[in-house]
Amino acid sequence: MLAQRKTGFLNRLYLIEIIQGLLITIRNFFFHKKVTLKFPEERREYSSRFRGQHYIKAVNEIENCTACMLCPTVCPAECIHIEAGEREDKEKYPVKFEIDVLRCCFCGMCEEACPKDAIKLSNIYEMSQEHRSVYSKDFLMEQRGNKS
């Protein structure tokens, strides 16, 4: 059986505690800096190392990627699908480069494994969509959020 705590009448009213609690609320509400933002008018500054939406880095509109398949190999979510091909100005390039972004866990291992500095994660974090989204190569090539 639980021991009943013996308390006095004033304590049992909880009036003091209620007033103390209210004082904390009032202090935080009126006199403290707010932690929330008025999104989307205001936006939070993230660290430059934040891992957001993917892009394939391109120089002079030629993708850095050579379809070496290290990113699909290292990807723990298995969300990258690449098909390699050959064209005149590039010995090997990705004909198809797809990222199933719903499977992606944004671990950044692909970026780390890439020997060509091709796949990158940008600072963009607004990625909600109404349909199941698979990023195609054209989408990834748009240099959205290119940091450099």
Partner: protein, 471 residues
């Protein structure tokens, strides 16, 4: 037996064995590039340095024969330094192509560089570059990646029996190429890619299709001819990407021919029949298994039937078909290669590997007592069981039904086609021309709505339609 000591371990050897083989038996791995157990020894790459006591300098293990009481060290400071120096020399001109190169993942140069080389490079001069010649339909050449191990030259000379690759110029300008820049002539060209320790000679067929480390490997047997070469079917995601030979000293040693290497292609041919097809007004039309089996049953019970089994079937399939035929007194004959009807007519097609019989199991069909197709027995309906490689003979019958693997081009005379499994899609046993039993292993699952022969025959029996058969 004489004994020598390798890294402190005593190993027995037979006279004339080189240190690489003896060391391998002691569990010591010596890195190599130019040495290949199936080729002659040239000691060109200088990678297999070992230290032998009482010898003043480092020795190449491939060209040093083991001797009685020899004390060999493969891990001394000198050896490690020597190997690292060799690696540095080999990598002077090697481009950093690994993300592009098809060899990466199974590359000796990558492995040995990682295992024995230095992580840094002192070389800062420009690397040499070459313009590559076209090597024909099988091999893609990239001379920039070459380390001049001359394995390819020796393979042509010693195994393929054709001197077509040469080293022209020397020193930094050395170029390994074909004589006069001609295309490769040999029918064993795929092996050039297998033995090349770098990505200098790669398969055009496999170019950029998959990375080597992603492939799953299933050991199987080639069904290209009655030789029964041991192969590894390399596949991923239910697609076969290539077949490579695996070592079997009794049969194919380390090699295989291009015909066998690219034989897997028909199993993924877009025109392969993967659904039951019925001929209706001259056209083959997709049908359900139920309706196809209905007509199969009707045919088999109503008219006079004979079975024709391809010699590309496995022993198990042939035995099942023969048992089924025995129950309902149907004659069974085999067909395979035109002009080769028995093992007596079979023989080597060239001096290397190829056999005249272009199917894998002619010997097995004979062992089961199935006679060759004579064309004499006149039946209304002939049911052809084919594994995909046997060549259909001219059949004189009112109706021909095909069960097994057929491409659209093979279905011209067939009134009903029931799709079956190809050699990469089934387990089974085949007997080669020497009488050696070998196992096929399933590498991929059959596409479409294929069924095994045993299942087709079971379905045929289930409705008790077959007179004389067990119900």
């Amino acid at each position: 037996m004489p004994k020598c000591t390798i890294d402190g371990k005593e190993v027995e050897f037979t006279a004339g064995e080189n240190l690489i083989k003896v060391a391998a038996r002691a569990g010591v791995e010596i890195p190599v590039f130019c040495y290949h157990p199936g080729l002659s020894v040239v000691a060109q790459c200088r990678m297999c340095y070992v230290e032998v006591e009482k010898m003043p300098k480092l020795q190449t293990a491939c060209s040093t024969m083991a001797g009685e009481g020899m004390v060999v060290k493969t891990n001394s400071e000198n050896v490690i330094k020597g190997r690292a120096g060799t690696m540095e020399f080999l990598l002077l001109n090697h481009p950093l192509d690994c993300p592009i190169c098809d060899k990466s993942g199974e590359c000796d140069l990558q492995n040995n560089s990682f295992g024995y080389g230095n992580a840094t490079m002192r070389h800062s001069e420009e690397r040499r570059t070459f313009v590559d010649v076209d090597m024909g339909p099988v091999i893609e050449k990239n001379m920039n990646r070459c380390i001049h191990c001359t394995r390819c030259i020796r393979f042509g000379d010693e195994i393929a029996g054709i001197h077509e690759m040469v080293a022209v110029q020397r020193g930094n300008n050395i170029d390994i190429t074909t004589i006069d820049g001609k295309q490769l002539q040999t029918e064993y060209a795929g092996n050039y890619s297998d033995i090349c320790p770098t990505g200098s000679l790669t398969l055009k067929d496999f170019r950029f299709r998959k990375r080597a480390w992603m492939l799953k490997k299933t050991a199987s047997v080639c069904e290209g001819c009655s030789k029964g070469c041991n192969i590894e079917v390399q596949h991923e995601g239910n697609v076969v990407y290539r077949c490579v030979p695996i070592e079997n000293q009794q049969i194919n040693k380390f090699w295989m021919c291009d015909e066998g290497r690219f034989n897997y292609r028909y199993t993924q041919d877009p025109t392969r029949v993967l659904e039951p097809m019925k001929r209706d007004a001259g056209e083959l039309i997709k049908a359900s298994w139920d309706s196809a089996m209905e007509s199969f049953r009707a045919e088999i019970s109503a008219s006079k039937v004979s079975f024709l089994v391809g010699t590309d079937l496995t022993l198990e399939e042939m035995a099942t078909i023969k048992e089924f035929a025995g129950l309902s007194k149907i004659t069974v004959e085999h067909f395979g290669t035109q002009g080769v009807e028995s093992t007596a007519q079979d023989g080597p097609q060239d001096t290397i590997l190829k056999m005249k019989s272009k199917t894998s199991n002619l010997n097995g069909a004979e062992k089961l007592g199935i006679p060759a197709y004579s064309g004499k027995s006149s039946t209304d309906t002939v049911i052809v069981f084919r594994g995909g490689r046997a060549v259909l003979p001219a059949i004189k019958a009112k109706k021909v039904i095909g069960v097994g693997v057929f491409l659209a081009a093979d279905t011209a005379g067939l009134s009903l086609v029931l799709p079956g499994f190809s050699f990469t899609e089934k387990d089974g046993t085949v007997i080669n021309h020497m009488g050696i039993e070998q196992k096929l292993r399933r590498a991929v699952l059959p596409g479409g709505r294929c069924k095994a022969f045993s299942e087709v025959l079971m379905l045929a029996m289930n409705k008790k339609a077959l007179a004389g058969a067990v119900s």
